[in-house]
């Protein structure tokens, strides 16, 4: 397994960032070369990493005198035994930003984290990660991070600020003033203990957890129905039928990386399975989950209550429970109810609506169906969100009254993402002391008295318990780049303790978890856990929870009363940005929405018929009666009368990348019945007759009848596994070649993509971007269709545009054995390797772009401008800090050269060399491309086609396998497996 590391050393490294990084980047050569520069390779300690930048400028000056730059090599003073310059180290850690959790491995190179990979040992997310987790490594090197503590907006020292805070807190406490700690949801058991200890010191202390996206209705509903305030773990792997209403569990809901694993494991057919989970989805806008559903139905948000009540009644009728007669849903739900009853105990009904009554009904349905034992696990609950909306409302009113004397905030940004931010803003002013602890600049920063910037998660110690019994650890992989301190260390400091959080954490583990581990030595236990990143223990004494149906009738009644009309705006998280806390991450900003394929702003997605009625087209800006102005995007499959808008945009103070990009929808969220309601009812908007070009990465959605994504239905598949793939055989049998085919001895690399497993989450896109140093090009260039992503996920629609079936197809270089691009390069910059790779040699390329034209897949990318060190492309490769994320194994491309997917050749070479050094053959599955590794669905498999036992060979010989545009006889080394839909009719 991966190496683990114990202590990163003291925190005495205070880099003079201003001096070292602020110097004018005179010579791009020098800077660009920096990270591959042998200064790094020969090894500086992690702590000295930034200092090295200072030295490099000396050689930059030398270069200016037209000599070959003098490269310096700085050895370690004391060679750390675990570090080998030029080799990567992996540290197990955990990602948790307050909303999303993943157990991860952090790949570090010469002391800097450069890539996030999933932790195979974790039961929760295994190797899968979402795009947001993948991108989080770039946030470490964000220049918008807070760099120093400040008091009243003036930079100060920690000692100074600590003294002031401790005094103030004492003073308030002595006056019996209320001290409130407002944090995001906390997963860490040690931190929870620490907070409780911290709070115990004060007379009046309150801890409020607040989530930007609220799950409080689920929490409360479970509290009411089962007496446990928790979000259950949904076991999709045990379900046969999933009915989801507005719950985007693949894209954003609760914990997508976790759910995707389960969900896809029941939908893959690569091991000869004959059954598939069936997924029925009700929603207004086109979410990623809806796009993947076997059957997707459009509803308005106001119809949800009817749907669920009706469904409840139908099921209750059949199962003999009490019914609550009410208005029927507009469609007959008998069929659905029958199917659900058929799958009794093996089905899941979920709703993503943050409405207590609706969640109570959903609970009712699930308990009627007996899903609670098998598919919905409330005992081992997911702890990812624990904020209760009413508590936050109470806090606001207290703040308004001025009864809160001290407000300590950690990892929250209510000024941006709380709907009542105006009152919150005013409330902060009413406090005597307000402290904000956050990693990077956000809207709340600057309003408080004390800014105590915290470490990035890659710089901190922490633990997390995502599901009861599933623990994981976070460890620092780099010393704090800036003058920051972890939240826990601050709390310890303020509570007068002299220990640091690392010691606190270990001692807590020693007390809590070590005794039950069965390991004799704590050091051993700790190192094992740290090395694995995860530690599971048995939670003793589970009681089976029984459903209490008392609140049902009240819920039904409340719901029936609510009436709505007009247009309804559905506000939801975007797959790329999530809640918006990572909006300053250029990778995520440029990540297109998987369904709309649009990036760099949020849009009002409207239905095709509404677009006709309003007389608007893509990019026309409309104005709503509440003042919201948004460009229109005509979305196939959008429910008529509804408008979908994504959250996470419209930042005003979160850094330069996201500055005033799109609109912030949080202020329009309304609180109803104690929970935040993400639906707005509104009049028809006015066309402002302004127009803006949308940054679309794909403008045509129909496959035009071409066999690009091939599909079949489950029934047909069971009869004939090659159904839907009849072309393949035909083409295989009719192909003739003038020249003999090239034989590949040894290795012949191939990549198989299971379109049935691919859910289009875009995780691979960011993984590839991180692995291969792909530049961000900005909105203007995306509009010009010059996005650089090497792998992109094409999305196609079929059937009627109003209610389409959706297809996802990851598309990267196909590595054709008869590659059309190779023939036409005049300078031999692209040719074929003896391992079947389509090689692209950047340093030979003169940029004729002929290969781009002659690639039928159009997967080659051109460096239209200089994207590195350019002030026009000031994203992450313009600054030294941002460039620290670059992978030293991959060349940064110059302006004017073509680039494309290389099948992660650097990983192939690395593993081949490793096998050679260890005098053994290469194992199957040993080499993983970045996309394969990041895929939470396991849809991508890479391997040696010459090895008939390899996974990829098996997939290539699957009857479902085909090659894209195989009629051109390009002989791609990428294979696709047909998509199988489980969409036989349910109505009758």
């Amino acid at each position: 397994m991966k190496k683990s590391r114990t202590n990163p050393g003291g925190a005495n490294f205070v880099p003079e960032v201003k001096n070292n990084l602020g110097s004018p980047a005179e010579n791009e050569n020098q800077l660009l070369g920096l990270l591959e520069h042998d200064i790094m390779k020969q090894g500086t300690s992690r702590r000295d990493f930034l200092k090295v930048f200072g030295y490099s400028f000396a050689s930059a000056a030398l270069l200016a005198s037209c000599k070959r730059p003098v490269q310096k090599a700085l050895p370690y003073i004391i060679q750390p035994p675990e570090i080998t310059p030029g080799k990567s180290l992996y540290y197990a850690s955990s990602f948790y930003d307050g909303h999303e959790y993943s157990s991860i491995l952090v790949k570090t190179r010469d002391g800097r984290p450069i890539k996030i990979e999933g932790n195979l040992l974790s039961e929760f997310n295994r190797e899968g990660t979402t795009a947001r987790v993948q991108a989080s490594v770039l946030s470490l090197y964000d220049d918008a991070r807070l760099k120093n503590p400040s008091a009243e907006n003036k930079q100060t020292t920690w000692d100074n600020i600590d003294a002031q805070i401790i005094n103030k807190l004492k003073e308030i406490n002595s006056k019996n003033g209320e001290i409130v700690l407002l944090t995001s949801s906390i997963l860490s058991p040690s931190t929870i203990r620490l907070i409780n200890e911290f709070g115990a010191d004060f007379h009046k202390f309150k801890w409020v957890q607040y989530d930007a996206i609220s799950y409080s209705a689920i929490l409360e509903a479970n509290s009411i129905c089962f007496g446990k305030e928790a979000i259950p773990d949904y076991h999709f792997r045990n379900a046969d039928l999933v009915v989801s209403v507005y719950a985007d569990f693949i894209g954003t809901w609760i914990s997508p990386a976790h759910f995707i694993q389960d969900y896809v494991s029941r939908r893959k057919l690569d091991k000869g399975e004959k059954t598939m989970l069936r997924h029925i989805h009700y929603e207004s806008g086109m979410s990623l989950t809806g796009a993947n559903a076997d059957i997707r139905k459009k509803i308005k948000p106001s119809e949800e209550k009817n749907l669920l009540i009706d469904l409840y009644n139908r099921i209750a009728e059949k199962t003999g429970a009490i019914t609550f007669p009410s208005a029927n849903f507009r469609e007959d739900l008998t069929g659905l109810a029958d199917k659900l009853i058929e799958a009794k105990g093996k089905s899941i009904v979920i709703s993503g609506t943050n409405n207590l009554d609706i969640q109570i009904i959903v609970n009712g349905i699930n308990s009627l169906l007996g899903n609670y034992t098998n598919c919905i696990d409330l005992n081992n609950n997911i702890k990812v969100a624990s904020g209760i909306d009413s508590k936050m409302e109470d806090l606001i009113s207290e703040l308004k009254e001025g009864s809160v004397k001290a407000l300590i905030m950690y990892n929250v940004n209510p000024v941006y993402d709380y709907h009542d931010s105006e009152n919150f803003r005013k409330g902060i002013k009413n406090t005597e002391i307000s402290i904000n602890m956050t990693v990077s600049l956000n809207e709340t920063v600057g309003l408080v008295k004390y800014e105590c910037p915290v470490n990035h998660y890659l710089e901190s110690w922490d633990d997390a318990e995502i599901i009861s019994g599933q623990l994981s650890l976070s460890q620092p992989c780099i010393n704090p780049i800036f003058n920051t301190r972890s939240f826990q260390d601050s709390l310890l400091k303020w509570s007068g303790s002299s220990t640091n959080y690392h010691d606190y954490l270990t001692s807590n583990w020693e007390k809590q978890y070590f005794p039950g581990s069965g390991i004799s030595d704590f050091r051993n236990f700790w190192n094992t856990s740290l090395g694995n990143g995860v530690f599971n223990y048995k939670v003793p004494g589970f009681k089976s929870l029984t459903h209490k149906p008392e609140r049902l009738s009240q819920a039904m009644k409340t719901l029936e009363k609510s009436e709505t009309g007009g247009y309804e705006i559905v506000i939801s998280e975007s797959v790329a940005l999530g809640t918006g806390m990572h909006a300053n991450n250029p990778w995520l900003m440029e990540l297109p929405d998987p369904v709309s394929r649009q990036c760099w702003e949020n849009v009002a997605a409207i239905s095709i018929s509404d677009a006709t009625i309003w007389g608007v087209q893509n990019g026309d800006i409309v104005k709503f009666s509440n003042g919201l102005k948004l460009p229109v995007f005509v979305q196939s499959g959008q429910m008529e009368g509804t408008i979908s808008v994504a959250l996470g945009y419209g930042h005003t103070n979160s850094g330069p990348v996201c500055f005033r990009i799109g609109e912030n929808l949080y202020p329009f969220v309304k609180s109803s019945a104690g929970n935040r309601n993400y639906v707005i009812t509104i009049e028809k908007p006015i066309n402002t007759f302004e127009k803006r070009q949308l940054a679309l990465t794909q403008v045509h959605s129909s496959m035009e009848g071409r066999p690009i994504v091939r599909e079949t239905s489950l029934n047909k598949y069971i009869i004939d596994p090659s159904s839907g793939n009849e072309f393949h055989k035909e083409f295989e049998s009719t192909h003739k070649t003038l020249y003999p085919e090239v034989k590949y001895d040894g290795f012949h690399w191939g990549l198989a993509i299971d379109l049935n497993a691919c859910i289009g989450c875009n995780s691979c896109v960011i993984a590839c971007q991180a692995e291969n140093n792909i530049p961000v090009v900005g909105k203007a260039e995306v509009i010009k269709r010059r996005i650089m992503h090497w792998i992109k996920i094409d999305r196609y629609y079929s059937d009627t545009p109003d209610d389409p079936k959706v297809y996802f197809q990851p598309l990267a270089c196909q590595h054709c054995d008869n590659a059309p691009c190779e023939n036409v390069c005049p300078v031999s910059a692209t040719n074929h390797s003896s391992e079947g790779l389509n090689q692209m040699t950047y340093n030979r390329c003169v940029g004729t772009k002929y290969c781009i034209n002659n690639c039928p897949y159009k997967v080659r990318r051109f460096n239209w401008y200089r994207y590195t060190n350019s002030k026009n492309f000031d994203f992450n490769t313009a600054s030294d800090l941002g460039k620290m994320v670059l992978n030293p194994d991959v060349t940064v491309r110059e302006r004017g050269v073509v680039e494309k997917c290389s099948f992660c050749v650097q990983r192939i070479q690395e593993k081949k060399l490793q096998a050679k050094l260890e005098n053994r053959t290469l194992n199957d599955n040993e080499i993983k491309t970045a996309c394969m590794q990041a895929c939470p669905a396991g849809a991508i498999v890479f391997g040696n086609l010459n090895d008939k036992k390899s996974m990829v060979s098996k997939l290539f010989s699957d009857p479902r396998c085909y090659h894209l545009l195989e009629e051109l006889h390009t002989l791609p080394n990428t294979g696709y497996l047909t998509k199988v839909r489980n969409d036989d009719k349910i109505d009758s």
């Binding site: 035009e704 390069c825 004729t848």
Partner: protein, 453 residues
């Protein structure tokens, strides 16, 4: 052989040899009038704008153009093919007619060849500019090097193209210069200015008009003519392989080589006509470039226009008959009825329909009509190249890659720049080099005149 009874004399006005020398040299001796500096000013302004656009391109990147991830080639390649096409006419004109011993070429071939040279220079600039890293252009030469040695890809049509254009530029320039030798000597001997005598003397390479010179000159002309004829056909065929060797629908066609060659001659002759109409009017050279000459070119144009029309129909037919859905899409849904339908039908009208006016003698003999129609053909041929380059790429195999293409002001600047450079070249040529091959005119002046009766 030439039948003067049917076609009239080649040079009108019963000129003597001395008169020919005098009249053809006249533009070199006296200042041409106000129009010349004005035209030169406009052309150089366009050229300067072009150089600005080139400067921006080279310093900032190809990103300043309208090309994108799917449409990798844009206006610059369109213009390249267009200029190369125009550049074909001159050589084709003089060489084919030389081989066919068509004596009426003598009045026109010099200008046509000059046009060739300037057009090919304009053309050759464009693919170089189109390189992302133009400073590494030497990578395209297969020279022995210390990289292995690493050679180039001889399978690449771009390499063929590169060799063909280099060869074509060299050969057409040599051919043009060779033809110019006796005339430069004439100027050397006639001029009174010492500077001119020295300069023209230097460039006339010591030509004396001796029989030894003439015999070698004649045989060299025929050798160069003979092989350049092959070259004329092959160069544009090779340019067409840039497209035809590709897999793109609408490019991948065996029709392309002849289609391109014919198209090249079509556009080139149209450009010759445009220039000739203007030159003979501006310089009052109607005795030398007679109505008969214009008539002959017009007849050729109408003939080629018919071939072009047939080619367009053939393309459509083959696309339909192949049953290949990508081909059908490209031709019928993208070109004929799609986003670029204007360009498609513009091409058909300009190239296949408007030249049909040349069936009428009145049109053939009216210089305004000739000018208008020839300009339409030039536009039509540009549109044809637009259709080929852009509309195949913008919507090809995978609909997810479909895009639109529109040029930027830098694209337009580069195009205007090449036009400006071409015009500057032509204007300088008219000012400093005899526009017609004096010696050749002298050799044919008696044909059709009373003396031979």
């Amino acid at each position: 052989m030439y039948n003067k009874k049917i076609r009239g004399p080649l040079v009108e006005g019963n000129k003597t040899l001395g008169q020919i020398t005098k009249e053809v040299m006249k533009p070199l001796e006296i200042s041409p009038g106000v129009w010349w500096p004005i035209a030169f000013g406009i052309s150089s302004a366009a050229a300067i704008y072009g150089f600005y656009a080139i400067y921006i391109t080279v310093t900032q990147g190809i990103g300043t153009w309208g090309v994108n991830n799917s449409v990798g080639w844009g206006w610059e390649i369109i213009n390249f093919v267009w200029w190369i096409g125009i550049g074909h006419a001159g050589t084709a004109f003089s060489i084919f007619l030389l081989i066919l011993r068509q004596k009426w070429r003598t009045s026109i071939n010099r200008s046509a060849e000059a046009m060739t040279v300037f057009a090919v220079i304009s053309a050759a600039l464009l693919p170089a500019l189109h390189m992302g890293r133009v400073w590494l252009v030497f990578y395209i030469f297969p020279y022995p090097n210390t990289r292995g040695p690493l050679w180039v890809n001889f399978n690449s049509p771009l390499f063929w193209d590169f060799t063909a254009i280099t060869a074509y530029l060299l050969i057409s320039a040599s051919f043009w210069y060779l033809g110019m030798l006796p005339d430069l000597a004439t100027i050397r001997d006639k001029t009174t200015s010492k500077v001119k005598k020295a300069v023209y003397g230097f460039f006339s390479l010591g030509w004396t008009g001796s029989s030894r010179h003439w015999i070698r000159y004649e045989s060299l002309s025929f050798i160069l003519g003979g092989i350049a004829a092959v070259l004329v056909v092959s160069v544009h065929s090779i340019v067409s392989t840039d497209f035809a060797v590709s897999v793109e629908a609408g490019w991948h066609s065996t029709l392309f080589p002849p289609f391109f060659v014919v198209g090249a001659i079509f556009s080139g002759f149209a450009m010759v006509m445009t220039l000739m109409v203007l030159i003979r009017k501006l310089y009052h050279l109607t005795d030398y470039i007679t109505d008969n000459h214009m008539d002959a070119i017009a007849r050729i144009l109408v003939f080629i226009s018919l071939i072009m029309g047939t080619a367009y129909l053939t393309e459509l037919f083959v696309a339909w008959y192949s049953g290949n859905e990508y081909e059908i899409f490209t031709f019928f849904r993208n070109r004929a009825t799609g986003e670029y339908t204007l360009q498609f039908w513009g091409m058909i009208i300009c190239n296949a329909l408007i030249p049909q006016l040349f069936w009428f003698k009145k049109v053939r003999r009216n210089w305004i009509w000739l000018l208008i129609v020839s300009l339409f053909i030039n536009i039509g041929m540009w549109l044809e190249r637009f259709n080929i380059v852009v509309t195949s790429l913008n919507k090809d195999y995978l609909p997810s890659n479909w895009v639109s293409y529109s040029p930027t002001h830098i694209d337009i600047g580069v195009f205007l720049g090449t036009i400006g450079m071409f015009a500057c070249g032509v204007l300088l040529f008219m000012r400093y080099i005899p526009m017609m091959a004096i010696s050749e005119l002298k050799s044919v002046v008696h044909i059709g005149n009373k003396k031979e009766d």
